[in-house]
């Protein structure tokens, strides 16, 4: 179909400001904007005619002073910038009723309603594996259930303990003593009528990850015996099968860290990071030994894990719903939350194109 016959809608979340020479656009969902030089005084009125029912031709007829070709160029430009969205398929009524905010979130990343519909379908059906239901995993799981992801598998072998309740989501006093994966499954079923798959098992090797169909995304939130060990297992499995994965943060010894999203062959993998991180660590620790101590229990606080989990889940949602990679924020870098300045720092790592682990061969 040619552009003049297509139908567009000006997205309500886009703020438009007209000054003498410029028109500014600001997407209030993403909080990003741009401006174009344009001195046509009727521009706002014109754009408001794109209401999802009139075609470009219909609008063109209302503005005879603008050529249809000129209008089409403007429309395509603003579609590309996600100011206008092409309305080529209606949204499903249940989606409009029950998840309008998800629709609106996704509209900032796509160019047509059919793309948004496909994205919602893809996300709902995606297979997600979360390893570890602790202070990060439990919050991340809840976040994914709430955007309508249906097929989630969780893997953990711990029971809910009273000392977990201050920092972990989804668990209540009545769950103390129950395996975490079972408590989470029951509580999610109760609240949302969604069935997640509970695997009461500790991940100890790559083989432990081959139990179901290959997932579309693996999120590592396990820190036992150590984050390095669990991340290595997840990385080995996922790089081998080209599965996107997230190295979560917020765990013991790395309470304020927000781990990176890894798209195999596209963004820096765990080994690309290690190559950069290890020399730094080695230089700092050269000729240094760590003091060994027997009695040690690390402190932790719920909302610090919550900040980490919220960013991890927000990134995961982009991956799950097929949002273009350029919109991902925590790729090729790790974030770290500073508890004294209440702000984030970033550690950036470029993908090493010679990396033996994530090479695209």
């Amino acid at each position: 179909m040619s552009v003049e016959n297509k139908t567009y809608r000006l997205r309500s979340c886009v703020a438009i400001v007209k000054t003498k020479r410029f028109v500014e656009f600001f997407d209030s969902n993403l909080r990003t904007g741009f401006s174009i030089e344009l001195d046509y005084p009727e521009i706002i009125g014109l754009l408001h005619h794109f209401d999802g029912s009139l075609s470009v031709n219909d609008v063109s007829c209302l503005y005879p002073e603008i050529s249809t070709a000129e209008l089409c160029t403007l429309v395509l430009f603003l579609q590309n910038k996600s100011v206008l969205i092409e309305v080529d398929e209606p949204y499903l009524q249940p989606d409009i009723n029950y998840r309008p905010r998800l629709i609106n979130t996704l509209e900032s990343y796509f160019h047509s309603t059919s793309e948004v519909r496909r994205s919602i379908y893809q996300g709902s059906k995606a297979n997600i594996l979360i390893i570890g239901l602790g202070a990060v995993g439990s919050w991340v799981l809840h976040c994914l259930v709430k955007v309508g992801v249906q097929n989630i598998t969780v893997m953990d072998n711990d029971n809910v303990e009273l000392s977990n309740l201050h920092r972990q989501d989804l668990f209540f006093e009545a769950d103390v003593g129950t395996p975490k994966v079972i408590a989470a499954r029951n509580n999610i079923k109760q609240a949302y009528d969604v069935d997640i798959t509970a695997v009461c098992k500790k991940m100890e090797s790559v083989e432990d990850l081959s139990l179901t169909d290959f997932p579309d995304l693996v999120i590592n939130c396990a820190d036992s015996p150590s984050v390095d060990t669990t991340s290595k297992i997840v990385s080995d499995f996922c790089l081998n099968h080209k599965i996107p994965h997230i190295i979560g943060g917020g765990y013991n010894l790395h309470l304020t860290l927000i781990g990176q999203v890894i798209i195999p062959g596209v963004t820096a993998c765990l080994h690309c990071f290690d190559k950069i991180l290890s020399p730094t660590n080695a230089a700092e620790l050269f000729g240094v030994k760590k003091l060994n101590r027997k009695y040690r229990k690390i402190g932790s606080m719920g909302p610090v894990c919550g900040v980490s989990a919220s960013i991890t889940a927000t990134e995961a949602i982009k991956v799950i719903f097929g949002v273009p990679i350029r919109f991902l924020a925590v790729v090729n870098k790790r974030l770290e939350f500073n508890l004294s300045t209440f702000d984030f720092g970033a550690f950036s790592v470029e993908r090493d194109i010679t990396c033996a682990y994530c090479a695209t061969d």
Binding site: C13, R31, W139, C143, Q168, G299, V307, L339
Partner: protein, 370 residues
């Protein structure tokens, strides 16, 4: 060795990593690294001292530990170095406490984050807080849940809305069976499942210009506002003016439409700018920003505008968690929260960084006097 006058029981804090350099024979550098705050402290000292450190078990008095060493250490020097390390928060006198008790990990965390106050006392201040929350939607309820998990034991919730099916998108206490029930009641039940010791007062009201605040907030340790109707700026001005006079802090949470992952504004009498300075600041800053939005009537139920505000639970969880880090630091008697007082941050979802705006007081303001 004769009995020491200075004979404490000590341990290295759990949240501190200790590294010892091995390059030199008669001296070494010992580095203490606070893993939660990422702060470092180094001392240069005789290598035998690291063996003493490693032997500190938090159970035996120092004299007993020193007995197992073949060397002599100057007790005066030893005392000064241990006292220095205690003052720097690297060593502590352990409290007798079950390491698996409900809040042990949080108390542990506080010992590294709150200074000038014992971590048990800091935690007690959290427990004894009385928090009033206006608006228990996505962000307000998430703040309530986080604070309740941290141990806050007394709440008042003010909100007149009921749970709808659409609340499933962002309300963390949502339960399909409770659709149609008052949000304040459903949230109360949710908190009671988390902590049976919690006491919640539910007020099914909307904050209006004529609402009498005194009965609602006069006993509060702090007040949180997330009520965005009629408009969060208006409800906050009403609350902010009243609470300033009562010397009660107000936290206006972020995470609402167009500010889906923002930090909140903390109004503390004597410390921050006042509510009128803040709203004046933003009116002036946005004087030239007069945006138009097109509202389409595409949704027949009109429950939500298609193409309008987005947001997910993960995003409102960010604003709520950020708020709670600030609030818990304040409640526990810390001072880190002061770093961002009178600043508003917007977490940019596509960049992973916060953009900050410093909120300036009106010159000669006779309320906040900044």
């Amino acid at each position: 060795m004769e009995a020491l006058a200075y004979d404490p029981v000590l341990k290295i804090k759990d949240s501190v990593d200790v590294y010892v350099s091995t390059g030199e024979s008669d001296v070494c550098t010992i580095q203490f690294y606070h893993i939660n705050t990422r702060q470092k402290l180094s001392i240069r000292i005789a290598p035998s001292f690291s063996d003493v450190l490693a032997a500190l078990d938090g159970l035996s008095p120092l004299s007993k530990i020193l007995k197992s060493f073949a060397f002599e250490l100057d007790p005066v020097e030893l005392k000064s170095i241990f006292e220095y390390l205690v003052a720097k928060g690297v060593l502590e006198h352990p409290t007798i406490e079950d390491p698996n008790s409900r809040y042990s990990r949080q108390i542990n965390f506080l010992s590294d984050w709150i200074f000038g106050l014992s971590s048990n006392k800091a935690h007690e201040q959290i427990i004894n807080s009385n928090v009033v929350i206006f608006g228990v939607g996505a962000v307000g309820s998430s703040i309530a849940i986080n604070l309740a998990r941290a141990g806050v034991s007394k709440f008042t919730f003010v909100d007149n809305k009921v749970l709808s099916s659409q609340s499933a998108e962002r309300h963390p206490f949502f339960s399909a069976k409770e659709v149609g029930e008052a949000k304040v009641d459903a949230l109360k039940r949710h908190l009671e499942k988390i902590n049976s010791a919690v006491r919640v007062t539910c007020v099914r009201e909307k904050l209006l210009p004529l609402t009498d605040l005194s009965s609602l907030v006069d006993d509060a340790t702090l007040v949180v506002n997330t009520a965005d109707e009629p408009y969060i700026g208006h409800t906050s001005v009403k609350l902010g003016r009243y609470l300033w006079g009562k010397k009660i802090p107000l936290y206006v949470a972020g995470g609402f439409d167009a500010h889906l992952m923002s930090t909140g504004d903390f109004y503390i009498p004597g410390e921050s700018v006042c509510i009128d300075c803040c709203s004046g600041f933003f009116s002036a800053a946005l004087a030239d920003w007069k945006p138009t939005y097109k509202v389409h009537k595409t949704n027949s139920a009109k429950t939500h505008i298609i193409g309008g505000s987005g947001g997910t639970y993960s995003m409102s969880l960010f604003s709520a968690s950020y708020a709670c880090i600030q609030l818990l630091n304040y409640l526990a008697g810390g001072d880190a929260y002061k770093f961002r007082i009178s600043q508003r941050g917007e977490f940019i979802i596509g960049k992973g960084e916060i953009e900050w705006v410093e909120i300036l007081a009106k010159e000669g303001c006779n309320v906040c006097g900044k």
